[in-house]
Symmetry: C3
Subunit: 341 residues, 3 copies
């Protein structure tokens, strides 16, 4: 591809450019490892001191840091520099990544009854079963699987090795990373004289537009109704979403988290990593949960919720843990003291 | 397939049917979203109030709720309505899912020395190595892998993308979901002057009959002896079973749990989600562990065990966590008060 | 393969052999299930009592247990018996496992611009994209994927179903187990009026020599710079390594752990299972973290760190948890008592 100049970038992002628009930019990078041909960004004023030392060819900043940035060299001034950075990465990736080739790879195995948009790209060793529908511009990477009757919305992109079982649906512009499993069976059994009788999972999974799902994350199919991820949901890696869970629009959840069956999480929630939700609870919109918390009851009000056991050096922890195991004894001793008063 | 009537269902499940056996049933569904052509069930008397409002064409109930159910419409009365519901889902799935096609898909790659039952179904892009044995009616879904010398029992079903390494064995009627890895190496190294020397894992994995394993769950091969899952074990998604673990018959374990090396878990245990077991411990039969607990020592008696840090709003948690970090100080203050008495 | 004798093993491992070198050895096994044709080992003096009862044909021991071992039968005496055992397993595996076949399986799909060493082994249904480089003696198991421009060092071995995305690099003698995902996108989004704007992840993953990565573990690509695993790092199963993490040489991490974005972990650390690291922290060399701890701040000194909530029977836990939720109240009561003095 042709060389990219600062002017090209400014033309794409808008904003006020100070500096030489003909400067060649060969990398988007962080301030500390930037070279004179790197474009970098600064959104958090706490790091403003890095402006003085960076070698970056250009720095994207907000209006508040305009003068400091211009004092050191080229700058691109935009109202929300972090958002501008996000858009720059998107444009940069589009310039550098080879576009998907429309059509079906000769090794793919596609059922004749499947309906594939002409602009869809089906990779090597992909399996597409009967009656599946693949939308315009959708990409199914190598080793992908789309079960019978499932639908993949336009411009949704499956990385290599995504398994999307039968009767599941995803909207437009989704991104599924390697190892994602959509529509494995929910975990349901009826006890029967000490054995387990399988409850076949008859529901599916419904995923809205603009959903991204990280590597090796699993979303189980519903028992009777569907499991639902609404539009704009973002799931990180190695997350478990059990059957009949519903996650509201634009909620984001970091890695190693899990949601047990039938729990409903609201919209615009921010869930940190290693957070677990027990089953059959409701979580309001705009709830934040900090890392390594287990949410054991419904949350009805927006706010920040936590439940993390603090780390310590092992010796201190041992001492505290021993008292903790007998906390009721300590409480009883306090009671006894109070009575003696 | 032909239309399903209430009479068909009653004929399959048995029990006492009140209502029109010719009513067409097009869905198994929950009470609250049921339509006049839905069959639903009610097993928990706490939800009996839903009987009055449901639109379900028929409700499966136990004898205690017979009169209330009949008062509102068609009912199918059975001694254990939850078990009947489980069996209904199985029968329903069998009616609606296309049967597996016996034989080997032309794209599969099967070693000539492998022995495949004629009724087995081998999907697209499956790899079966030397001396593997696939039983009658077994199904290996797309992108499956069966390593050399491994055996798959009759009517065991691998969803797409299951990796079953060499020298591993599973009995009859098992179900493995997408992304399952059986027989990856256990995590074993000998320290050697600051480096790690690999301990090759020479054991395998032995899995009994009627075992179900959820999406992306891993069961490592043993170091010397085998890792063992006994009959009827049910594992949910994203579970880690380390080398030389043994899990007793009919034990069920929910998602995001893990068992470290050489731990032995008894029969008929119920393990909730996000439960961790340290290595080299023994857990008795009929033990229940509640969610997000780490089991740090052997458990010799049946019972319920817990170890979860309670969730709170972030401000309250901060306050308590600060005291918790200095719990020994609080204990010392109580001691000092006691001495002053 | 030919029969293996005790003499063959002694010739490979060195050390002092007492006993019949012509004894046939058909298994490496633990002391308790050993037969007269099993070779076993004893490295922990605590288990010395097992020497008397084992049926093993030969036991590998250190000098301290030489006399006790010789008293019961054949023995192989070496300075570090656990290390000798590790090497024995390596040699044993090499004798028993069929060697990889050099060359490209006819079903593999290899871009003409990829450079493959003649001694590399490319399995069935493997996909290798443009400009990838596969080193001497490297093995890519069935269903493997190597993205464009990625490099796989000599003698690195991918088990079946490893996904190694574009622009990622691994050194020599690595081992990646089934389901590993290298180079999925890091989890990065800029908020934009209640929606999430994707930050394309422009970095890659760089992995040193002698790294082993367990089943279904994920290592995300960096946002701008690379995510890094230095030489000799060992990761167990189902671990999440987020974007821009760096893990120092010879650090080992057990299963179900996770490291959030941009955290830097030192060399020679030992991280137990289910340990979480929050993002943007630094952990010194030679740090040990015990199981189920969440590391919430930087650790600047070597040592052992813990943060586990203790398990108890459910009734005791309930009692303590209730007090814990109101720990500040207990503290206030102690304060009140102190004031009254």
């Amino acid at each position: 591809m042709a060389k990219i100049t600062l002017g090209d970038i400014a033309a794409h992002l808008g904003g006020e450019l100070t500096g030489n628009p003909l400067l060649t930019i060969d990398r988007v990078g962080p301030l500390d490892s930037a070279t004179p041909h790197t474009i970098s960004f600064l959104s958090n004023p706490r790091y403003a001191a890095q402006l003085a030392s960076t070698q970056a060819g250009c720095v994207i900043v907000g209006p508040a840091l305009r003068d400091a940035a211009v004092a050191r060299g080229a700058a691109l001034v935009l109202p929300d520099p972090y958002l501008a950075f996000a858009r720059l990465t998107q444009w940069w990736a589009a310039q550098h990544r080879p576009p998907a080739t429309p059509g079906v790879h000769p090794t793919a195995c596609v059922d004749p009854s499947a309906r594939l948009a002409a602009s869809a790209s089906i990779g090597p060793f992909v399996v597409i079963e009967a009656d599946a529908v693949i939308g315009e511009g959708a990409q199914i990477g190598a080793h992908g699987f789309v079960g019978r009757g499932s639908t993949i919305g336009p411009h949704t992109r499956f990385a290599p090795r995504v398994t999307f079982n039968h009767g599941c649906h995803i909207g437009a512009r989704g991104i599924l990373h390697p190892g994602v499993v959509i529509g494995g069976d929910g975990f349901g059994f009826a006890p029967n004289q000490g054995r387990w009788e399988k409850i076949e999972q008859l529901g599916g999974v419904r995923i809205g537009d603009d959903v991204e799902i990280g590597s090796n994350t699993c979303v189980d199919r519903g028992a009777l109704d569907d499991t639902v991820l609404e539009e704009g949901v973002k799931l990180d890696n190695l997350i478990q979403i059990a059957h009949n869970v519903k996650i509201g629009a634009f909620t984001a959840m970091a890695g190693c988290s899990g949601v047990a069956g039938s729990t409903v999480i609201g919209k615009h929630c921010m869930i940190a990593g290693d957070v677990m939700f027990v089953g059959h609870i409701q979580v309001a919109d705009h709830v934040q949960v900090t890392g390594s918390t287990t949410v054991t009851r419904s949350i009805t009000k927006p706010g920040v919720y936590s439940g993390l056991f603090p780390m310590d050096d092992n010796a201190s922890w041992e001492k505290n843990a021993a008292i903790l195991r007998n906390l009721h004894t300590l409480r009883d001793r306090v009671r006894a003291l109070e009575k003696k008063k």
